[in-house]
Amino acid sequence: MFAIPLLDQVSAGFMGVSVAERALSMDGWALTTANFASVSMPALAIMLLVLSGVGLLIALLVGGRLKSRVYKTWGCGLNVTSRMEYTATGFAQPIKRMFSTVYQPTVKLESEMLEESRYFAKRKHFDFHITPFFQQYLYDPVVNLVLRMSDRLRNMTVVNELNLYLGYVFAALLVVLLLVR
């Protein structure tokens, strides 16, 4: 309702056609594409607010008053401590396990046992990490390529290859001129 007309000023400058008139309907309340899709964020926001209120209203009507009591978290008879909380590692564990073919997790558990008994550990070291698949094989190669090329160009201007650099600039200009014509 507010963002589309603003964006439209930008896109209309490029294309010469206003997109907003076709995309917006119902006085700018809904975003529509020719009977294929329609969505209205303001209407959805109002619905969420009103209907959450309906929940509160029903609770008041059916239950009478809203009484509540603060008590400790249920923990099978034990006191809940912060050590029982789910950590990020624990939270993501099922996903890591299900997509283990992609992420190739490495789990390493090193234990140093006491000399007296091998049932008691003196020190334990747990190591868990995954292969950042998309970063390693998709983003990093592209980023590295661009970085290497820009490094090369910078070296040309800094070190005594200024002539070569100017030659490249000249060639690029030629290409651009030929293309534009």
């Binding site: 009977n35 209205s40 619905m47 959450s52 309906v54 603060v70 624990g90 939270f91």
Partner: protein
């Protein structure tokens, strides 16, 4: 305008009123198949009323997210319920959101429920949240792809248009294969999203198998009532999607009193029949291990993918 508001109120009453019945019906079918008499199909209404009247216990370790989540969950699920055509093909709020908006309204509720499960700080809630996040993230590709298949066949992602065209058999009967494949995919997605048996067991309180019940473990009183009501409404929203996208016969095309009364009766019959099917399925199928879920939902994803491919093949 007043007619539209009346329609919305009627839809709201249907969504709120029918959803506990569906849950009760599934429980009754399961009980009968297990040679038990079982509680009345209207037992969930009594449960809700009782829970609303009880004092709510709030764990001392929680933040405002815990108390606000039931209302957000209830609101977003009810909003989704107002978008899906139940007894009338053209819902007045059809412009507000298409089927994709509906899916993400439900996802908003799930997201807050996951946060609330973590909020209490007990290992139980965290475990439920972690598993729910897994199920939600594996279900989503299958769900979105089957929705695309439906949208392609019907030529629209607007629920009103989809139901309208299917009811008048426009564009569907010439090549029903994509539609039927998408139905299979969406049915599996329904079971996974609403926590029914092959994925989650709504009747259990064993920590090894719980997903949804573990997440809402710390809720009580009116909060629990709202969460349970929202869960049953989510089930009803998915059932309505299934029956009205794939078998919209009987639904009212025009908003006249007679057609709508007929539409309401047809809707109740269709939803009840599907609930009975789910009840029978729950009795005959064992719950899957959590890490074998990817196979079931992978199958749903492949079905939906086939639906999309078939659409392009048949169209030439």
């Amino acid at each position: 305008m007043i007619g539209n508001i009346g329609l919305l109120l009627l839809q709201m009453v249907v969504m709120l009123g029918v959803s506990p019945f569906v849950v009760g019906l599934i429980r009754k079918v399961k009980a009968l198949l297990q040679c038990r008499e079982g509680a009345s199909v209207f037992q969930p209404y009594a449960d809700l009323t009782k829970m609303f009247g009880k004092e709510a216990v709030i764990p001392s370790t929680t933040s405002w997210i815990f108390t606000i989540t039931p209302y957000i969950l209830f609101g977003s699920t009810l909003a989704a319920g107002l978008l899906v055509p139940a007894f009338l093909a053209d819902m007045p709020l059809g412009f507000a959101g298409n089927i994709i908006a509906l899916v993400y309204l439900l996802a908003l509720g799930t997201f807050f429920l996951i946060l609330a499960g973590l909020d209490a700080g007990s290992a139980f809630g965290g475990m439920g949240s972690s598993r729910e996040a897994l199920v939600a993230s594996v279900t989503e590709p299958a769900m979105i792809l089957s929705i695309f298949a439906i949208g392609l066949t019907a030529g629209s992602t607007n629920l009103n248009t989809i139901v309208h065209r299917t009811a008048l058999l426009q564009g569907v009967m010439t090549d029903p294969a994509p539609h039927l494949l998408a139905l299979g995919a969406l049915f599996i997605v329904t079971l996974a999203e609403t926590g029914r048996v092959p994925v989650d067991n709504p009747a259990t309180h064993l920590e090894l198998t719980m997903i949804h019940e573990a997440m809402i473990l710390d809720y009580s009183g009116r909060y629990l009532a709202l969460v349970e009501w929202a869960a049953s409404m989510k089930l009803l929203v998915f059932l309505s999607l299934l029956v009205n996208i794939f078998a919209p016969w009987g639904i009212a095309i025009e908003a006249t009193a007679g057609a709508m009364a007929l539409g309401l009766v047809a809707y109740l019959v269709k939803v009840s029949a599907l609930a009975v099917v789910i009840g029978i399925l729950e009795c005959t199928v064992a719950k899957l291990r959590l890490f074998r879920l990817s196979e079931l939902l992978g199958a749903a994803f492949i079905l939906a993918l086939l639906a999309v491919i078939f659409f392009y093949i048949f169209r030439g």
